[in-house]
Symmetry: C2
Subunit: 285 residues, 2 copies
């Protein structure tokens, strides 16, 4: 039976550390603050916003929501963003996307100061992930997966890792983060021939294909750690499922993240961690 | 006997195309121009400069050298760079590095406009390599290796590639460029355990370890294409050698770049190609 790499334990550990750090910062007059820039009232934005606010409040990070109407002009949107960039009381900015079509998202995304880009979406943040320098922040999901591996003391250095998926929010960045920790990483994608021959050779398999239950026992073997980044609603089973066929592999591999209850829950905590880090970097501490 | 992937043939083909393109641009009033920004008179800078000028002249690209004394202040250096950034008659800028210690190289490097960064050294150029967007330009050596593979019709899509080395000038960028062309790439480095077990499984092996003659028959097998990016002076043999033990593998693999005469010679042509591309991007053509 595989060990369950539960996000909950990672989050509790992270929250404990963040509470102490925020307390220390506040004693030094620093008040870590996240700004959330939202256009309209999309349900998934609002749901994520509630989660982020709750996590922030828990550790003492303040949240300022800037809510703009769905028909906001590009100029007004960029102006709101510019104000947040320049506001020294704001340490991190979460910009909900996708933006309405009449706003140039790439322009908006790269206007966001990398130093405040706690969601890791700007080109400079991604350059930092590639070059291993603190230009901005890593995409939260990729760092959440790293945080899980570290919390559960899964060795990374010198290990073989197969990453399935090459997106900019998870596949490519986690490949780089793992390589910076001295893993030997292979990135598999839709054009990879015989993915199982690669994943079967790995010590760690990160599944971020975005294809529900696409990876089963035929891809894996004993003694592996599996990080399942997928999360989709399975109509047939009437429940949330990952990219891995969990039931099929839980008796095969040595450790696996459950879905739900794995990577997903850690992501918001990483966002909060980034706000605290941003506050530290922006201060002279 | 392996097929020799000679840089010379790639360069001739590239030059032919560039000559036509530059001619067409000039007919449209566009005059592709490279600025070289040099501090002091280091012999390797001067040697590279002579090579670049020759290649530029050959295809009709103009070169403007800005030569600054070794004791130039940081302010003066950045001012010279700023002038080149703003000069609309300059399409590409080659900034010789390392800079003298009293000039903040990272600051200078990132002041360079990505649109003119024909050497692929800025964070935004590297972000573009990572995200597969034309923010700047790829590092020339990485693109030279790609150009060789393409010229010799070596299939990339769906193929397994092992890259030895993870530097920002070659290992990491070429891994990304190959992945964007749908190869399945594994990056090996100093902390990789059992590199030969990985390289022996690959269709293409890119050797950029920076360790002279470190890769021999024990790393390779038949039917492979080997790109040797290394170039070092071998005192014992009294000649230039690559990172691969050429004599040992030329009867084993199916194709290999010689050293000298392989990747190195193509690099300068890629620089010139980037100047022409920069001129096109900056125009409205």
């Amino acid at each position: 039976m595989a060990k369950l790499l539960k996000g909950k334990d990672v989050v509790e550990n992270l929250n404990g550390k963040l509470i102490d750090k925020v307390k220390e910062l506040k004693e030094n007059g620093i008040n870590p603050t996240l700004a959330i820039l939202r256009v309209g009232e999309r349900e998934d934005d609002l749901s994520y916003e509630r989660g982020a606010k709750k996590r922030c409040e828990l550790v003492g990070v303040e949240v300022k929501v800037v809510s703009l109407p769905i028909d906001v002009t590009e100029e007004e949107y960029l102006d709101a963003l510019d104000k947040l960039n320049k506001d020294i009381t704001i340490n991190g900015i979460l910009m909900f996307r996708p933006l309405p079509k009449h706003i140039d998202e790439s322009k908006a995304r790269n206007m966001l100061l990398a130093a405040k880009d706690v969601d890791g979406c700007t080109d400079l943040s991604l350059a930092g992930v590639f070059t291993n320098t603190k230009l901005g922040f890593s995409p939260c999901t990729a760092e959440a997966a790293m945080e899980i591996l570290k919390f559960y003391d899964i060795p990374i250095e010198g290990k073989k890792v197969a990453v399935i998926g090459r997106s900019l929010v998870i596949g490519r960045p986690i490949a780089m983060l793992l390589m910076h920790e001295n893993a030997t990483v292979t990135i598999c994608h839709t054009k990879t021939v015989d993915v199982p021959s690669i994943t079967k050779e790995a010590d760690i398999v990160v599944v971020a294909s975005g294809q529900m239950e696409s990876v089963g026992a035929d891809y894996l073997k004993e003694n592996q750690t599996v990080i399942d980044v997928g999360i989709s609603w399975n109509d047939e089973k009437n429940k949330l499922c990952g990219d891995v066929r969990f039931d099929e592999v839980e008796n095969l591999v040595s450790a696996i993240t459950p879905v739900p209850g794995g990577v997903g829950g850690v992501t918001t905590s990483i966002l909060v961690k980034h706000v605290v880090e941003a506050a530290i970097r922006q201060s002279s501490l």
